[in-house]
Symmetry: C2
Subunit: 506 residues, 2 copies
């Protein structure tokens, strides 16, 4: 049966992740990729609901940390981008010269996002006087307004966020949720009195990410990105990467400390309590539909998705069995559904006129955490059959069923966290030793592109380049936390606690 069952569902084996992933997002009815623009998928109801539940967790975090939700316009006038580009050019040049950005004076130069954006040049039949672009992210439109809102120290901190779609003119291969051209995006932007305030915000962001990843059951690597991979305009960038089953890392969150680097370009300053004008310090924190991509990729199996209970649109599927034989079945199932709903559990009652086997397949593919079957005999014995999507089937009493379900949902989350944690560990190994020879550096082993490598590193940029070149992989940056004890750097041999990862990145 096994083979035929799988063929019927049309799901490739997950061992071939690059085949499995693009197939499952459509088979599980998350998106439809047949829209005539590549990289712009149609969100189907099941996918949209899951994403909204992820957004819901994010909104809860924002509310409990005092962020307020805004919506800024999608279109940005070209001249605002010029501001950003000038700033980014200056920071880049300063970094290359190893000097403070304020010491520089540069002519306008195109850089930053301008190569990646979609341009609106016409309205109706008219060429627009001022071209506009679709936001790739919202520093520019937001900071333009912030400079109107922030006057006085009492206006700070200003903690804002929005959940909107952003756009990137992607030229690389697109993949649902992972690399798309219309991106379901979350971005928090904050303004502070000083560097310390912004630093505290970065610490808060780190805790928010930690709580969210716990809810989504996703183990991650957290790294301070290397200087050359820092977000344009940022003082430093911290990135959160998930290790996908094919060993590629997926950046699913970033938070950036901007210091006061944007203050001048956007006229962002305030009057302190002594009446003196001070530059504002800023941070941003971004996440996207990649969170859903990570959930799909990390938790699913050969039979379909497995959704963490925190974001499963239906945490429990109630399946009436032989309801046509005994009318009491449907009545009991509906009563049960109501009881569970009253206890805050998301329930779907599958009254469809289909064989139970077909329903099982369906909900297995869609990754519903728990299925409950209830037939005429169960009514008599006051119990039902509970199946966990992570494996296992038990008979449970209908008494205190909500408590039972909640405890099983917790078990599922734990199982997912454990499995994903083990899987991540299996995908990370020590980088083989490097040796310098007469013809350059060589590696003492074979690099597997499907793996992430860890190593102690305290070298300079040139040393980092050697490692990237020799492995063909990309450095993730300084891992947080670092080693608990000092170990010798893989290049310099100097003792260090700095831990680095190198991987193929999405």
């Amino acid at each position: 049966m096994g083979k035929q069952g799988k063929a019927k569902r049309g799901i490739p084996s997950k061992s071939d992740f690059n085949l499995w992933y693009p197939a499952i997002v459509e088979i599980a009815d998350l998106v439809d990729k047949r829209y005539p623009i590549k990289g712009m998928d149609v969100w189907k109801p099941y996918g949209l609901r899951t994403m909204r539940l992820i957004d819901g967790l994010t909104r809860q975090e924002m509310a409990s940390t005092g962020h307020e939700e805004y919506n800024f316009p999608l279109l940005v006038p070209e001249d605002l981008l010029d501001k950003e580009n000038k700033l980014v050019s200056r920071l880049k040049a300063a970094r290359e010269l190893g000097i403070d950005p304020s010491e520089l004076r540069l002519e306008e130069e195109e850089s930053g996002f301008s190569k990646e954006v979609y341009w609106v040049t016409k309205g109706g039949d008219n060429e627009l006087e001022k071209p506009m672009f679709l936001r790739p992210t919202s520093e520019t439109p937001m900071y333009t307004m912030f400079s109107l809102w922030v006057r006085n120290h009492a206006d700070l901190p200003l903690k804002t966020f929005q959940i909107v779609n952003t756009f990137r003119y992607e030229t690389k291969q697109t993949r649902s949720f992972i690399r798309v051209r219309e991106i379901h995006f979350f971005e928090a932007h904050t303004v502070h009195k000083n560097e310390a305030g912004a630093t505290r915000q970065i610490e808060e962001d780190a805790k928010i990410v930690q709580r969210l990843m716990h809810d989504l059951c996703i183990p991650v690597l957290i790294s301070k990105r290397p200087v050359w991979d820092t977000f344009p305009g940022a003082w430093y960038s911290t990135a959160v990467d998930a290790v996908m089953p094919n060993g590629r890392t997926l950046q699913i969150a970033t938070y950036h400390h901007y210091r006061d680097q944007w203050a001048e370009a956007f006229n962002l300053n305030y009057e302190d309590s002594d009446g003196k004008t001070q530059n504002c310090h800023q941070t941003t924190f971004g996440m996207s539909e990649r969170l859903l991509g990570a959930i799909v990729g990390m938790h699913g199996d050969d039979a379909g998705l497995i959704l963490p209970p925190s974001v499963a649109p239906h945490q429990v599927i109630l399946m009436p069995i032989a309801a046509h034989i005994d009318q009491k079945v449907s009545v009991t199932v509906d009563k049960l559904a109501e009881e569970l709903r009253n206890n805050g559990i998301r329930v779907f009652v599958d009254h469809r006129d289909l064989r139970p086997g077909t329903k099982h397949y369906d909900w297995e593919i869609k990754g519903a955490p728990i299925r409950l079957e209830l037939g005429p005999r169960d009514l008599v014995s006051n119990q039902c059959v509970l199946t966990l999507r992570t494996g296992g089937k038990v008979e449970v009493s209908l008494d205190s069923i909500s408590e039972t379900i909640n405890s099983k949902l917790d078990n599922i989350s734990k199982t997912l966290r454990e499995r994903a944690g083990i899987h991540q560990k299996e995908l990370i190994q020590q980088l083989p030793d490097l040796k310098e020879t007469d013809t350059g550096w060589v590696i003492d082993g074979v690099i597997d592109e499907g793996m992430v490598y860890e190593f102690p590193f305290d070298g300079n940029d040139a040393d980092a380049e050697i490692i990237e070149k020799i492995t063909g992989l990309t450095l993730l940056g300084d891992c947080q936390p670092c080693y608990s004890e000092e170990v010798p750097c893989i290049i310099t041999g100097k003792l260090t606690t700095r831990k680095q990862h190198i991987a193929r990145m999405y």
Copy 2:
């Protein structure tokens, strides 16, 4: 005090509605209009929350009527618009010739939305091979996908909706919520087996609108739009208009019966139970942030907004009085807030260190339905002072406070409905008689542009044109319901039950 108080708030008198409206949307902190693109406002937290609550009511209606939520891409390739334009041209030409659209063959012709859309022509530095436009509404992107989804009679009805931003290249004067270039938009699109199915959907839409307008306390005029004002591609369009205080009507919802007019252009057909191919019939139903515009305009007063309890972000403002004198005040207020929240009431506790008068002004401007003050003396007497935003102040017991609040919120809704209903009646009057003279038609009275006129009408298009020309106003269409008894048509004198309105439209 009166004058000074008003000056302090900076709110113009509502008697000058055209001054009051644009001022209040910013003073009440709903939007910021200073974004550098005209007609693209920044949604501030209070405005966004209110709009989200309106969306929430809409989503509830969609869920209870079996519509499912999707998200379609924002960008539409040019060639899809060509399809729509051809269709619209054919329907328009057929209408002008008074023949069935299927009898016509037309060359491609530009029309429909193409003059109103924003065009994306570049990605980065590259000219796009195929220009794309920002959706003004989603028939084109949706129907392209529907034709892939609908195969068989079992796939029908297909009931979809989305809440997304749409874009119009507006050349007219923009006004917050009323005429903007980036529009917070709701659109439901349905596909049916036959005309009757689509007609039932239109009836369902009418009921949904009725329930929503009840919740928002907005009296409306419902009219089947004249043929020349029918939505491009529709068989007929029904529009829902609110009468704003300046007598201008604001179209806040429309539903369109498309019959099977789109079926051929978009290849939308299905196999019926006899294996025969049949054309699909369709409807759409649209609403937008204009709902918020209507709420602001109809319910507000000289002191600010008045938000209907159904969509007020904070239904109750709790104000601790003299909390610095008696610490028990804050404790009791917080406990009270929790009790109210547990009963599903949206509460904001105003712990700000401001004078009570200042807080009162603030929440008056923002239109919070109820304010509760609680001070040291109230603790002793186990009561508090309740102020209604619609007027009136009473002392109420803290026992069963949730019931009291819910009943007061209901009273506020009733008051708003009554006031708006009376106001609407005052703004609608009988159209003065029309007489035909040697020099043409004349009107027996003066037309006030700040009024809506009602009259029995059973004439033809030419007659309608006479009325529009002589009054300088626009016909809303056949009113639903019509007169209960036959009355003579204002032009032809023929007895009719058809009721029409004519007004200045937004």
